[in-house]
Symmetry: C3
Subunit: 416 residues, 3 copies
């Protein structure tokens, strides 16, 4: 029986039993060096504090996160009364909200330029101050062309009394050179906006509405949102929204503007669902808010729409250039709940960072301490490869290893 | 030639050769202790099973994730026939869908209160049951004011036969005290909704439509969505949508309600793109669904819109208070594809967690096993700092280190 | 005074002082084996290069990421002139954009089928080529029923000259069997689209508009978007958008189509905010773009809307079947900024991966190198549990441990 055979027989059995019954743990040097030890402990405790305090407690690293899917319904209420050169008129929500069906993004009209009774016809182009539409003779008006800033197709004639080209268009042409000031519907400030918001955290199977437990029907009937006193009331005064987003109402009402209303949900679902409440925030969009000092291009917010009708068999329209407050309601929902995966990932990552602390301490110990060479000797054991089978390593390892194992290994090395 | 000079000369060369030709590996103790070893192996294999089974196979930790950008187009089809006190009327999609252009969020009218022929005028405010608008004399009606619940500007007169203030408003005032029951357009149940949904995973450069390979033109012409038999058919019966979201159709049709339709894409792009298919889910929004037992405030869904016309030179409007089913279609798309970064991150994190297992085992070995002190001695080597240059450490390290290295280090320590 | 008492007294003090003044560092073997060392260093440097190069520099693993909340306002400009059988007509933005208020998703009409003067009446159903609506006698027309593809309620009569059922409907019924070719508003190609986009990175408190520093009012007045020469100009020609998304304009104008305009923000907030600029991308939705070779079901984009009016006391409507280019503007904003948490997480994960490298090198060293048994002996120290208190371990550990510590431990082991 050769040495090889002896070894091979119980090999598999031994490997298995080794695997299950032997446990390997790194050998360590305990360094009794106050300076190094204290510095290292401080680094390690800093890392530990960071992992526990910041990752776990502040950032809630043990949380699985879900982003909400939200749905919004809005309803404006309010009435405005205008008296333009003796013509009284009342405006209600059906008149001043676009679109009408309660979308999350809508415009509240605060000012307008109405051009009543337009019909398809020929009429002179609008003379604007900058001479852009000016013409001296028919040659300036190319038939069948239209200008980017123009309102219709040029017929080729230059009208002498306005000094502009004649165009085929909806006539008369809208004259929007003067924006009504003060804005016609300045009382829009008192309109109220009711927001219904439903959010769904699919991962956690949670559906939640901004009409939380404390918001019941009688509260809704009377409340008005205020960040301090009524932070959960879903009814907002338009003037308040505008002021809180940094605009001046009379200014925004004149030329229009856009405001974002953010409904922010940050829910910890480890606690009772009752603590999952919305927060409302308001900010000016497109950098047009007052607190933005630089002058920005393309201020204001306006659009045109037409109301069509037939009069004496002729199709006509009333063109409205609407200036208004556009409100974009945005839901930002985020819920966290304890979950084993992110917890273990955070721990695993933390152990990794702990490893960094050890590396730093070792560098300190091995390169920056006066006794570094002593510690190097303690920490490292040098080997020279026994390529010429020297006597040295054999005698050296002998001291370190139990006799039994050593001999079996020696056997294998000799017989190979 | 001093000791220092001798050391400095080949220093850089040695450092480099050390770095490239020396490999350091931790020294370990192999502990032959069945209890500890078995416990540790179980912990380690649990960690390994968790990393492989859960992180890699179940959560697909090797996947880079992209969230879809989606676009939706909808089209309702259907016709309703109503006969209100002898007046027959047909309603088609252009009449009952708001807005008309096929948005992802829209309302299907199922009930309405129409107020035909409103014009700007003076008329008495609506008497409501709760005496909110009631007046006894002109003093109750402040001229020029309007109430939050009112419909217009008060003129200052109290109308005796209705006991309400006279207002300047769109007259006659809408009377919405009675919601038609049964709902006027109850046949809306049979309308069909066609959804086209396109999603884009930008990171993976994949564009996908809900009209997948198996959905061809002839299938679309005849199919109707059913979660079991036709889960990919993009045509939905309105009644089915309502029922599946937990509502009762005749109830929601009367007062209105909001429903979320979720198109859920969860794609594994390591497989063929053909397996990337949408799933449709339906749920009630705003907690108004039937399965929500508590009574919630602000039930229903309604909005007002006006159709304007000119009659004999007077602007009039037909005001519609529309009750309907609002449908919000939401896309939730998520695709995963193998990527080296998340794979390595998951492995790195897993190794970190493995480190936790080792820490636990070491605690066990060093503090809870009867032979703990023996193992402590095996694992740890103590050092006392040679602050007074004692003879002890020198002789102690001598045994552990090859002569060559030791002497070079001794040299450096003495000369510094 | 027993051995136990002696030990217990200064126990807590010693534990504390041990904890603070002792530092433990793993003992290592320095293996002077060129093959192993070089392979290991290469692996380690590869891992290091990956962590630094890829995770940190390319993927910016040290960045905290925030996703933008965006808001969009659009404005179309342009005029079209049509001459249909002598009837001249001009179309401006109020006529061809749906919805009118400048939403992020809108439709530009390019073609239409108008059915003027519909009123509630009885009329024959439209005969379609496929005989779907055909009837031979009154028995084919169930009174009070309606077909999924039909336009109204059947009255029960079969009209002989059209061979279709009589229906109660908006009459006359729309005839959409022929789509106008060439499209009526082919000049829509020259319309311009102005996009205002505001994004907010809440986490970093940054608000940004697509009208960046270099885009001032005078530039906006004259510029036109071009990916090379004017990549920041917010004004787009409709024809360009269509071409860049892979469609043919005359084709899309005829049957309609949907296009996604992506505004992509990828901002590194460690740099100046001026470098945070949008990129515009265009792509065809619903797989209808030219570069998609397979024929897909349900091409085109159309919807119907009605303009209501009252004529001689009868409610009428003009039904428009609108074909057009639907444009969905989508914001995809992502900002990164240096943050300590993701940095440490990336480092921790990197250290973990480094651990993998060490494991691989150890496997190499212990199983694939000819001198593997020698290294095994160097690396591992075997212990046999002193269950029968053998003399062996005691003498063995003696060599490894300083006398002082050893005796204190010996004491504790004996007295327990």
């Amino acid at each position: 029986m050769t040495c090889l055979e002896k070894r091979m027989k119980p090999q598999i059995k031994r490997t298995l039993s080794n695997f299950f019954f032997e446990y390997e743990t790194p050998r360590k040097v305990l360094v009794r060096n106050k300076r190094v030890a204290v510095v290292c402990r401080i680094i390690q405790m800093g890392v530990l504090a960071y992992i526990i305090g910041w990752v776990f407690m502040y950032e809630r690293g043990y949380h699985a996160i879900d982003i909400a899917i939200g749905s919004i319904f809005t309803k404006m209420k309010g009435v405005s009364f205008t008296n333009i050169s003796g013509k009284e008129r009342i405006w209600d929500a059906a008149d001043f909200v676009f679109p009408e069906q309660g979308d999350s993004s809508f415009v509240v009209m605060t000012n307008y330029i109405a051009t009543v009774g337009q019909k398809q016809d020929k009429c002179p182009e609008l003379p604007d101050g900058k001479n852009k539409n000016k013409c001296m003779s028919d040659e300036n008006c190319d038939e069948g062309k239209y200008k980017r800033t123009g309102n219709g197709h040029m017929t080729g004639r230059c009208i002498s009394n306005t000094s502009t080209c004649e165009i085929y268009s909806w006539c008369p042409v809208e004259d929007d050179r003067q924006i009504p000031d003060p804005p016609i519907l300045l009382t829009a400030e008192n309109y109220t906006l009711f927001i219904k918001n439903s959010i769904t955290f699919r991962q956690f199977n949670v559906v939640r509405s901004n009409l939380v437990e404390s918001v019941n029907q009688s509260y809704i009937n009377t409340c008005l949102y205020h960040p301090k006193t009524d932070p959960l009331c879903p009814i907002f005064r338009l003037g308040d929204i505008v002021e809180r987003s940094g605009f001046n109402f009379s200014e925004i009402a004149r030329v229009g503007g856009a405001i974002g209303v953010l409904i922010d949900w940050d829910c910890n679902l480890d606690l009772s669902i009752r603590h999952c409440k919305p927060k409302y925030e308001f900010y000016g969009l497109y950098g047009t808010a007052k607190n933005d000092k630089e002058e920005k291009p393309s201020l204001g917010y306006n659009f045109r729409y037409a109301k069509y009708y037939v009069e004496n068999g002729v199709e006509k329209r009333t063109l409205m250039k609407v200036f208004g407050v556009r409100i974009d309601i945005i839901v930002h929902g985020r819920a966290g709940k304890f979950d084993i995966i992110p917890t273990l990932t955070a721990i695993g990552s933390g152990v990794g960072i702990f490893g960094v602390a050890t590396v730093v301490c070792d560098l300190l110990l091995l390169y920056f301490v006066p006794e570094r060479d002593f510690y190097k000797n303690m920490k490292f054991k040098h080997t020279e490869i026994p390529e010429e089978k020297p006597a040295l390593p054999q005698s050296q390892t002998e001291k370190d290893l139990p006799k039994v194992t050593y001999h079996s290994n020696l056997c294998s090395r000799r017989s190979l």
